[in-house]
Amino acid sequence: MDTFVIHLLNALLYASVLFLIAGGLSLIYGVMRIVNLAHGNIYAVGAYTTAWAVGRVLGGAPTVVLYALLPIGAVAAAALGAVLEPTLLRPLYKRAEEYQLLITFGLLLILEDLLRFIWGPYPLSVSALYENPGSLSIGESIYPTYNLAVIVVGGIAAAALWAFVYKTKFGVILRATSQNKRMASALGVNVNRVYVQAFTLGCFMAGLAGAIIVPQQGAVLGMGVDALILAFVVVVIGGLGSLEGALLGALMVGVVREFGIAFFPEIELAVLYLMAAIVLLIRPAGLFGRA
């Protein structure tokens, strides 16, 4: 029973991080119809920035300050997004979507090497933040408190995003632009501004995912590409452009992955991709998507 609870908590942990990444990817697709292949690298930028910032001030600073520094990765990712959208993506909206995929693929290659250039080839870690909160006992087993904090952050982020998209004026504008860009534009919405805001928000979420998971996993090269593929599975299952779908997809992938690693490690990844392929075959637009 204890082991089951721990597996479940781990599944929720994966799901929280995956939701943040995939939710951002989906939001960007939903509004701008762009599949951002560099999204995983944005997540890596968040992880690296946080690891670097916390590592710089680690000596002597009180722990509270360090935890307050965590979101800096999300801010850095958002700033990067705010620069990238107008410079690289905006010229391409009128072109065939092949080019949009290609430019984000180019961006993936560039960001991958920029991370190596700035922070070197070795992993960065801030495991002190992970170890400091200690652990809780669940029955006879123990579980790191930090993991629970990540799950809570994931939950809060999902709720905040839902409130933002469905309960604020900006959310209405966002959804209107997503449904009909020309109509929104005709009604006086500054579409360019909405696009840059949506892209920035999506990058912020990815960066936040990187920032909160880095104390547990560290920042390594290649983490972005790995995360992107899982995020792809999530959005394909849930439906590209749907936040509810991203939540459900993240939960499904989190559970299958955790129990897959425990019970059928050889085909754990294959099962995930097959799940995505099967969903695409039955419902091409995903469980929550609109074709």
Partner: protein
């Protein structure tokens, strides 16, 4: 009327000197250069196959690493389980393996177009990658599988034949000519395919699916066959590639390798027949140069790709022919 569209004479004037140069090349340059060019020609075969889907049918696959990888792993399995090292068997096995996978994946994918087609091909190719990665007792995992130098032409040409020949010599001469011949045949066959009624139907589908359907083209059927041919071409490239590399690893099944195939094609220009060929050869030099000179080679490639998409979307061949056309008109 000639049913097989013969290439226009002007084109032959361009192609003949190039083929001649390729024929005499091994006696002009270092073996290293010849081997490097062999890689380029092999990637060009993959790009030709890929472009039948992108350029002629209008489907962007982000999963062509699957067929390249199946070609390579098919060969490696022949060596591992059947202990055969004949190149002809390799080619047959590689093409068969990749076509089988293309038959399965294509069946699932060609119902979709645009972004869904791209993502589905990507997801399915990743299934193969994860299997190659995890089933290490069959595939060797990340260590990969070794493939020895094969014998060519039914065992008539082997490495031991020439006195004192080492592997590099074999690859730079005999194997180079072998690749060159297959490359030329592949180009000729692809030329016939895209200029046949079948190829015209594909282009009709690309330009207007609904109209093509009304004219009587069975869209699904044509797309499926194009997918199969494309997969077989890419598999052939994989089978040719693996003896040259001597080793196959899961790296060639990862989706970023599919991204490279897309890169070749766009670099050369996917709206032209020869674009993918030029793109693959140029990309191969570019990558080798970048990898040799800096650890930040991905950065170089990424910047090239971004500049290409923003400034030269027609690619090398497309841009050159447009410039040439403008000059001719001005003259």
């Amino acid at each position: 009327m000639n049913t097989l569209a013969a290439p226009p004479r002007r084109l032959l004037l361009f192609v003949a000197p190039v083929v001649l140069l390729l024929l005499v090349l091994p006696s002009l340059v270092e073996p290293y250069e010849t081997v490097l060019l062999s890689y380029g020609l092999i990637f060009a075969i993959a790009a030709l196959g890929f472009n039948l889907l992108l350029g002629y049918t209008g489907l962007l696959s982000f999963g062509h690493s699957a067929y390249f990888g199946m070609g390579a792993y098919g060969v490696a399995f022949i060596v591992k389980y059947l202990k055969i090292t004949s190149m002809e068997v390799f080619l047959l096995g590689g093409i068969l393996a990749s076509t089988l996978v293309a038959a399965l994946f294509g069946f699932l994918c060609v119902r979709y177009t645009r972004i869904f087609f791209g993502i589905l091909t990507l997801a399915l190719s990743q299934v193969l990658w994860s299997l190659a990665f995890k089933f290490f007792w069959i595939t060797g995992g990340t260590d990969g599988l070794r493939v020895p130098t094969p014998s060519l032409l039914g065992g008539q040409v082997t490495m031991a034949l020439g006195k004192g020949q080492d592997k590099m010599d074999f690859l730079a001469h005999r194997y180079y000519y072998y690749v060159l011949v297959i490359f030329c045949v592949s180009v000729a066959v692809m030329w016939v395919i895209v200029h046949s009624p079948f190829g015209k139907a594909l282009q009709a589908i690309r330009d207007n699916e609904t109209r093509a359907e009304f004219v009587g083209v069975q869209v699904w059927h044509y797309r499926y066959v194009a997918f199969l041919v494309s997969g077989a071409y890419t598999g052939l490239a994989g089978a040719l590639w693996v003896p040259l590399n001597g080793l196959t690893t899961p790296d060639i099944l990862v989706w970023t390798f599919s991204g490279k195939i897309v890169f070749f094609t766009v670099l050369g220009g996917f709206q032209t027949f020869f674009g993918p060929i030029i793109g693959a050869v140029v990309f191969n030099y570019l990558e080798t140069y970048a990898v040799g000179h800096t650890v930040y080679w991905q950065l170089v490639l990424g910047v090239v790709l971004v500049v290409l998409v923003l400034a030269l979307p027609a690619g090398i061949v497309g841009t050159t022919s447009r410039l040439a056309g403008r000059l001719r008109r001005a003259a």
